[in-house]
Amino acid sequence: MSETILLDRRWIARGAERSSTLHFLLWLAPWVFLLLLGIYAAGLCFYYGLNQTNMDNRFAFGMWIFLDLSVIAMGAGAFFTGFLVYILKQNDLKPMLNSAVVIGLTCYSGAVAVLMVDVGQPLRAWFTFWYPNTHSMLTEVTFCISCYLLVLILEYIPVLLRNRQLRKIPSFLIFEHQFHKLVPVLAGVGTFLSFFHQGSLGGLYGVLRGRPFAYRQGFAIWPSTFFLFILSALAVGPSFLMLVVATAEKITGRQLVQQGVFRKLGFISGVLLALYIAAKAVDTYIWLNFTSPALGFGPVDFYSYWPLSSTFLFIATVPLGLFPAILFVVPRTARHRGLLLLAAVLTCGGVLLNRFVMTVQTLALPTLPFDEFLKYTPSWQEVATFGGVIAYGVIVYSLSYRYLPLFEAPKGEDKHVSLG
């Protein structure tokens, strides 16, 4: 076998096997193209205004809000893995930590970038910090996500500083070594912040009394969707993390973590998913029988529109809910890698569907008695921006994988026990 040509060898950890530079660039190229297209689309929106999208006064929120809610849910693996490792001492999950941080960072930074394009006046983004409205869920989301993004950046810095070249700088090495003491604190803060903003994203819709499809009663000021979103985010975070790492294993052709890690993540995901489905079932019952009839709306107002009829509710609950939960939890199925990954895909699909239903379907359903069911198709600029965020995530993860010891044993141990 001829030696792989690595023009960037000095940036790659000693002893680590990587594909050739050319191969890597070829892998990156389409993603870079997608990213550039996304930047161009976003640029058009900045320049010409939001008329470049297909959003309108009835679909004031569209694909981008769906994107935001979805990637933030997927990025929940970041805080949850940290919580599991540092607070609950599940040390066999440690190899996943760095990946979780990278995923979290790209998810949150991508979401914030899209939010900047989504608002009509991005230069006024700081107004929320200056004139906060304590009654608004969106204020809570803004504060928490901003703080948490900072936390993620701080968590990523030590990973970044373990790059082969950067380690050579003594001050960086010392900084990284000292910093690692802060990581459990950051994990705790991150958990706290995430708990709130994952919930508030659900709260965004749950407080909308003007949208009986989304409105829920709950506990104190928090509607039930606050808690349901937290549960579903906790359920999907590990699944998504598992999928990303599995994909990385497939693409790189190496085993990056032990199989048992996947199974453990899957089990956690499955239990939380089952809890979530149970909570959602109770919530749906209360909502359809008490909450929405009190507002004068019943199931017929929500479910008589094909194709968004009650089938979506069924799909979200059973094939994308109970079924993967069972696959995760039952030992006979959890043993099989293929079924684990299938369950992870289905879990992600279920949460995506749930986010879609809360963002897009809420707006499609009529509230006034003489209104009709509305349709919305995103414009190419919206799709391109969405694609750009995904590309951004892939690029950052690929670069992190190539140049940083993502799957290395945790800090403090001098051995480079990397499996990848």
Binding site: G49, L50, N51, D56, N57, R58, F59, A60, F61, D118, V119, G120, Q121, R124, A125, F127, T128, W130, Y131, P132, N133, H135, S136, M137, L138, T139, T142, L204, V207, L208, R209, G210, R211, P212, A294, L295, G296, F297, T362, L363, T367, L368, P369, F370, D371
Partner: protein, 250 residues
């Protein structure tokens, strides 16, 4: 004086001519439509919708319903959700005031409003050359990226206050404060006044058994009432109305 300005719109008198829509747009310096404008991107702080009983032939009935900001009083949805307090309820008039200069354009309030009475500036405003000379002084021109809605011609209220101040009066003369839509309606279908005054014609009309409000059961307590003797319109609105005996008229 604490006033609660509101309206009672008589649907038996509304002919759907649209004069209120144009007068409102002219008063509020709403720009002409961009080439790609659609019924879902238009800025129509007053918007007249068509209603029908769904039947055909001789049994068909039609009516028109002007929709504007309902000036909700109870836990006003848009006020509760705006992250930077760009909407607030003016205590002296009860008007839900939008502050376009503080609006970030997040459009959360548009999602929250069940009456779809809020509109976003999807484009920068543009007039044909010279037409800016016809803009209404005293009403700011909004740029793209901010939300706007009806504010019961608050500029006219200011004008009435100024007039009262010049004349040395503390309270405005009601004849000096008439919103553009009220003034424009050729059949006088829109009754406007102070719901806090028990003798105001609008208060009496709001208490009439023919009056109703949209989506009453959601509990936003809108200050825009409707009035009709036509049962089919009431039936359309009734499914979301409070039970008639429990009706929370103003």
């Amino acid at each position: 004086m604490i006033a609660r300005y509101g309206m009672v719109i008589d649907l038996d008198r509304c002919t759907g001519c649209g004069a209120c829509m144009i007068a409102c747009a002219a008063e509020n310096n709403v720009p002409p439509e961009p080439p790609r404008a659609t019924p879902r991107t238009g800025i129509t702080p007053m918007l007249v919708r068509a209603l029908s009983n769904g039947r055909d032939g001789a049994d068909r009935r039609e009516a028109f319903i002007p929709i504007t900001c309902m000036q909700c009083e109870n836990e006003t949805p848009c006020v509760a959700v705006c992250p930077q307090q760009a909407v607030e309820v003016d205590k002296s008039t009860g008007i839900v005031m939008q502050i376009p200069q503080r609006c970030l354009g997040c459009r959360y309030c548009m999602t929250a409003c069940p009456y779809h009475a809020r509109y976003f500036n999807w484009w920068d405003p543009q007039w044909p050359p010279g037409m800016e000379k016809s803009l209404n002084p005293g009403v700011s021109v909004r740029m793209r990226g901010v939300v706007e809605k009806c504010n019961l011609c608050h500029t006219r209220f200011h004008g009435a206050e100024e007039k009262a101040a010049v004349a040395g009066r503390k309270e405005i003369d009601p004849a000096d404060y008439i919103p553009a839509c009220v003034e424009a309606c050729p059949t006088g279908a829109i009754l406007f006044g102070n719901l806090a005054d028990p003798n105001d014609p609008v208060t009496l009309a709001a208490h009439s058994p023919d009056s109703f409000r949209l989506l009453e059961r959601i509990g936003t307590e809108p200050k825009i009432h409707y009035k009709t003797t036509q049962d089919w319109i009431r039936a359309l609105a009734d499914k979301n109305a409070n039970h008639p005996t429990e009706a929370q008229h103003v």
